[in-house]
Subunit: 687 residues, 2 copies
């Protein structure tokens, strides 16, 4: 019947290429994360309009809606309208069997495995519980491709299970508020790459983002009206649950808490009034750890939030208390003395222990940043490490569970390769005993939001976070960087088709900057730059505040320039081939000529948003000229004068300095290699 | 205060270019449609985070929500977070005064004028009623640009009023169902270009798309479950009303009505069963105009719909009855004889008159396609002309009002320039008396949906419909095609920022076709092709049906290739300059080289969706080579051999034939001009 349906639905195409069918080569497997075990063949199973799905075994609403979502995504993937859900398992092209229910409230460590067997005539997905079924559906979707004979998935046998049980993404919604629909599309992205924890950083100095019915001044005075209602929170938790994702709330205490004090100054260690913080950094306000009224408040507040957020983990932050308010408060100093607390660290430990009692009385496990690990804490807490594997290993040796975030700070604008090289089980953690290693639960990518808003957050999270997701799911020997980048490029567009905007927003943002003039020259520049890396350079703006518009080229530019990486690879190939490849030489020339001749002046004159990039545009042109001259010398087999080389290298070095535009020219380094190779190097010796 | 706020919010940028401020030249006015009267200066009014709006005069909820929407769009335009609505009119940067309410149910011919006065320190928008206020807000938004000193609008004085009272867009939701959210974003687009009628083609052979509570089998059996509930319809009408847009429903009768008969075969002129039609074309089923039960049904049905749709115009279709069911039915033949009806046209006129009585009893004006104009119809009906100005003029002379759609069929894939040349007051209508001319209400762009779905409809409507909107709003002397294209390119991105997907969906669709491989080579081809024009070539697919996926390159390709138009203009400049411009010659070479060298084979091998474009890719390469050779001859001042020219022109001609891919290579014609100029032409005579 399938063939017949195909004849009816896409007959012209079938007729057109029926003579062109060739032996199909088994291609690379375009999955991210890579499954833990698979056997791939060169055969295929066709996907056409007769495609149908049937669910057997354990039944629940979440599975039905997962299948509906799966069919919607498959329709989007193929452009075919697929809605049929077959009632008869014997007829289904994709038969799904789920053994039993997962826990009502999802727990870390539940079985998330699944098996997917694809034959030429049909596929079977089996899982012990719905968590595995959800993952298997995502794998199936990623396998779908427009093959030579029609849409198809490869015939394959997959047995897949994650390496780590906690694969998280943290989003800071305090520094910039991120609306619910933006969170939702990012949950769709998480589901696609099998991440299972959404860590919601809900309060910080710059905003308190969730409705409290008991203490309404928290959101009324601490959020500029930008907060989630409890109904929205419940809806989001259900949305996440549907996708096999836990929601762990974080309320950062006792520091990072200015926004609480706008409505409730009595919680602070110094008298009010307080205003919502508009700047970035570590600020003085901190809760007063010496007052019973503070604990009474927190007891009531956490009770309310523990009921709202069903997850059995509750994050209390605990990072970066500078202690200044404590030092300046005589009553707090008295308290330290009278309680034998020798330092502010010990004072915070006192606070954390009292907080932990509140949290554990509500049957929750407390999670916090490195700072909460102090002597005498109970063993059920979880340490999230921004400091690194050393802290995690130390914690594990004492019997504490831990999560790695150091190395997964995606707001630092590092390359996917740099994040991909970070492994929760490396350095100090690699040396743990097997027993201790079980305490390393996994890791979390952290999206701090000083410089991201609803429009730009997708491009800061994706696609790089997919590489982190693979690190946390796939076996440790899945670490080939070239394979990662090849698959990342593809998954990136798949993620975009889920509604994420990291690719599709790029040109519209450039259009806005350039007043909807022809943006081609702007794109030439934007394609080879990246935002400055790390906090020092990011915070170098003159007095940045939370009301600054995120409308500059640095906001539109991608964290990682594919064009620059590809150019760098071309240069490496050229040099590795002793500069003999004429086609490569011509290709490098074409790129360098494009950059050298790119003229942004007419656009820069018109738009104030472009004036800061004038030096950048000039530098790109200058160093591209240096690169062209270097290739000239190489091609002519001529040794350049020493002062030429010195001058060019100085130019390149100067072009690598951050400018006020806060952008880096990423082709500078490979151009430097060309200039260096132009004299006395491997190229000349062989010509 | 504004300067101070600017210093706080964007200080770095200000510091950076403070030395670069130059005398500002008054640029071209980037508005579409162009206003009927304006005086533009070179001065500007700054838009910064102190921007505020105040409403005075007549107050209503629609104005408040319009201001909220305006601020949201302004925020999106600038990347600044603008939410302030000033209470004190004296402090507002944009003061809006509305004299009085418009009619509760919007009527064609209401005053839609507005005045907008922008001074360096503030702006004032005034309008007789909210319709003008809505239009003025759109004008203000279009004026905002990133100027050399910051976001700004020019200092300008505008008095604007539309040329025609009926500026419509028809969307056929029967042949492909278009979900409500897609309709809504298109209403946003209509508002942006000041269109005021959404004509909703709700029923046809391929689907009945609105819920009837009286006759539920209409949607239950006639829609595949794809229909709008009455709640959705009411919501959409409110959405349109908020944007100054009327909603005119169309139920096509007595032909184009197969979908009705699936549930109610007794309405038809031949016995059932009926199935929803899956093919395209003109089909036999037609209502039986001889049965009282048909009129009883329509009386009840139209009563229900007239209550649902408040607009005082009601479209009954009336087009393309082929008469075959009538001819084959002896009872109908008897009826014609007994009633002295000499033709099927007269029989349809009998039907239409009875229908008109039903419609006018409900205090609605009947609208229909050309065919409904038959002797003896009352003068309150409106003729929508798919036939042309001749029909309109004939109707106007008899006192009937008319709308032009001939020339505005955007599904034919014509260029914006071709639609822009069509004027409702031209040819036969231009010769009408002033009195008769008042009967020409305006026009409607028509989006028939044989080959569009939710994913592709935006790119078929926009940006070309903005050119039609200008034709219907702006004075008749606004007709410069180059100006239109320059402004259309800009408005196109503005429309995209409202949520329309005509630009942002292009690359994702190419990505899907190419399996998320590097689509650069595919884009090189896609950028210079257009879908075949007109129905004959569009319908040339082998048995197309409504279930065919719209996932081919013809679906992704834009109706109009900007790259091809620009290339054509370059060739014209080159030839007009007697081929002496070396820079132009080099530019043409670069483009032709890109097309000649473009290699799609690796992509085509992998994806069945690309196999049909192999001949197209080959043709582009071949004719680009011909173009390069032509420039070689021209540059060398050498006369090519006659047979070379004959061969190349044959190649070009062959490349212009539609292929199975249903795409046209739009650079073929300018390449032909190059080949022709290469021998004995103006170029050689002057070298």
């Amino acid at each position: 019947m399938r063939t017949l349906v195909l004849l009816v639905s896409v007959p012209l195409i079938l007729v057109f290429f029926s003579g062109a069918q060739q032996a199909i080569q088994p291609g690379p497997l375009n999955l991210m994360p890579m499954p833990s075990n698979y056997q791939l063949t060169s055969d295929q199973m066709a996907i056409d309009q007769s495609f149908s799905v049937s669910l057997t075994g354990h039944q629940e609403a979440r599975l039905d809606s997962a299948v509906q979502r799966f069919l919607r995504n498959l329709s989007r993937r193929t452009g075919m309208s697929l809605t049929a859900q077959s009632a008869d398992p014997a007829q289904a092209k994709l038969l799904i069997h789920t053994d039993q229910a997962s826990k009502e409230v999802q727990e870390p460590g539940e079985d998330e495995s699944y098996s997917l067997e694809v034959t030429p005539s049909g596929a079977k997905l089996s899982a012990p519980n719905p968590l595995g079924t959800l993952h298997g559906l995502q794998t199936f979707l990623q396998l779908v491709e427009a093959a030579p004979a029609g849409f198809a998935v490869p015939v394959i046998n997959i047995h897949d299970t994650p390496r780590f049980v906690w694969r998280g993404l943290m989003i800071d919604v305090s520094r910039h508020f991120i609306p619910i629909d933006v969170i939702k599309r990012n949950l769709d992205g998480m589901e696609a790459v099998k991440m299972n924890v959404f860590h919601w950083h809900l309060s910080d100095d710059q905003g308190f983002r969730v409705e409290s019915k008991k203490f309404p001044k928290l959101q009324e005075m601490g959020s500029d009206g930008l907060y989630y209602t409890q109904a929205q929170v419940r809806d989001l938790i259900a949305y996440a649950h549907d996708r096999g994702i836990r929601v762990v709330p974080e309320f950062d205490m006792p520091g990072h808490s200015t926004a609480w004090f706008v409505g409730y100054p009595e919680l602070a260690s110094a008298p009010g009034q307080y205003q919502i913080e508009r700047h970035w950094g570590v600020f003085d306000p901190a809760m007063d750890p010496t007052r019973d009224r503070v604990y009474d408040f927190l007891d009531e507040f956490i009770k309310e939030m523990a009921a709202l957020f069903p997850d059995s983990y509750f994050h209390i932050g605990g990072d970066e208390v500078n202690g200044k308010q404590w030092d300046a408060n005589p009553q707090i100093q008295d308290f330290k003395r009278s309680h034998g607390l020798k330092s502010n660290n010990e004072l915070q430990a006192y606070f954390t222990k009292r907080l932990e009692k509140i949290v554990s009385q509500l049957h929750k496990n407390m999670v916090g940043w490195d700072e909460i690990l102090t002597p005498g804490m109970p063993n059920n807490i979880v340490i999230q490490s921004w400091r690194g594997p050393g802290s995690l290993a130390a914690a594990a040796k004492q019997g504490y569970r831990g999560l790695l975030s150091n190395g997964y700070y995606i707001d630092l604008m590092w390359s996917a390769a740099r994040h991909y090289a970070v492994d929760p089980m490396s350095e100090a953690t690699a040396d743990l005993t097997p027993e201790e290693k079980r305490h390393i639960l996994g890791g979390e990518a952290t999206m701090w939001s000083e410089y991201v808003g609803p429009e730009t957050i997708d491009s800061r999270i994706w696609p790089r976070t997919a590489a982190i997701a693979e690190k946390l799911w796939s076996p440790s020997d899945v670490r080939d960087v070239n394979s990662m980048y090849a698959r990342l490029a593809q998954i990136s567009w798949r993620l975009d088709s889920l509604g994420l905007t990291h690719n599709t927003d790029y040109i519209p943002m450039l259009q806005r900057i350039a007043n909807d003039e022809d943006t081609a020259p702007l794109q030439v520049l934007a394609d080879v730059v990246e935002p400055v890396k790390g906090y020092r350079d990011q915070f170098a703006r003159f007095k940045p505040t939370s009301t600054d518009p995120l409308n500059r080229l640095v906001d539109a530019a991608r964290p990682e320039s594919d064009a620059a990486r590809e150019f760098s690879n071309l240069v490496d190939s050229f040099l590795a081939g002793q500069c003999k490849d004429a086609a490569l030489s011509a290709r490098l020339r074409r790129l360098l000529t494009k950059w050298h001749e790119n003229n942004l002046e007419p656009l820069i004159e018109k738009s104030f948003l472009l004036q800061e990039i004038a030096p950048l545009a000039q530098n790109l042109s200058l160093i591209s000229s240096a690169g062209l001259q270097a290739i000239d010398y190489i091609d002519r087999g001529e040794e350049p004068a020493d002062n030429w080389k010195t001058e060019q290298l100085a130019l390149v070095q100067q072009a690598q300095q951050p400018t006020s535009a806060q952008l880096l020219i990423m082709v500078a380094s490979p151009i430097q290699r060309l200039v260096e190779a132009s004299s006395g190097g491997a190229c000349h010796s062989t010509k």
